[in-house]
């Protein structure tokens, strides 16, 4: 398809909203998602020569967008330097970690709390507060249901990084959900 002409207006009209929803599902950040979609169109236009009509144009655009999202996560910091939770204070590592939270650790499971409020977006808000790289891990694991090896390869982390991130992310999410419940 050398020198293929595309109607950029039509491209934007037909695919921009779909791509934006796709980006939002992974990034949970509207401004970032919009930028990513715009970038995707730019790349698509400059690389239109490589597009083969055999595949669906939407699939092709989505794959470009997906690569950009993965690159974004890969560039993000693996380490988390701004602890929300007192949990990560390394100094008192000999303290039983759960004791600090005794006040709001009730016998009820968070299950009861969440199921009651299933319609609210607390969980998403909480995920939104995680560091970018962790969001990448969470989205790859739960949205795309990728296997561990693929997540590690894509985001350039080691297998032990992976479970440490998941562990810490869950602790932070649990903290975050509880705090919201306390309010």
């Amino acid at each position: 398809m050398k020198g293929a002409q595309v109607d950029t207006g039509l491209l934007v009209e037909e695919h921009s909203d779909y791509l934006l929803s796709f980006a939002m599902s992974k990034l949970r950040d509207i401004d970032l998602s919009k930028d990513m979609v715009q970038d995707t169109f730019l790349s698509a236009i400059t690389k239109i020569d490589t597009f083969e009509n055999r595949s669906n144009i939407r699939t092709w655009l989505t794959s470009i967008l997906n690569r950009k999202i993965i690159d974004h996560w890969r560039r993000a910091e693996t380490r988390y330097t701004d602890p929300i939770s007192s949990f990560f204070d390394q100094d008192d590592s000999d303290k039983h970690w759960i004791l600090d939270k005794k006040d709001n650790a009730t016998n009820e499971t968070i299950e009861d709390e969440i199921i009651l409020e299933e319609t609210n977006n607390d969980l998403f808000d909480c995920i939104g507060k995680l560091p970018e790289k962790w969001k990448g891990v969470i989205a790859s694991k739960y949205l795309d249901e990728k296997v561990s090896e693929d997540i590690c390869k894509e985001l350039e982390i080691t297998p032990s990084n992976l479970w440490v991130i998941i562990h810490r992310a869950k602790l932070l999410l649990r903290d975050c959900l509880r705090k919201r419940d306390v309010r």
Binding site: D17, I45, S93, W97, A105, T109, I114, W163, L171
Partner: protein, 78 residues
Amino acid sequence: MKNCQEISGLYEQGKLSRISISDKIALRSHNLICKQCRQYFKDSDLMDVLIARKFKDLGTYTFSESEKAKMKEELEKH
């Protein structure tokens, strides 16, 4: 003896990959004596389900007409 933080980490590790027999024993025995970790295991399993579910019921997002127009204009330059 592993502490709670290590045990709960081990639990996540075990979900993602194979762990050694001695680690499995450590998990099981810790599970018997520690209420907080039992709770963590439950919460962890629950969060797997909730996060997965939340990710799947997503709303749709749209660009405004003016944003689209701007984007088209931008693209025309290339």
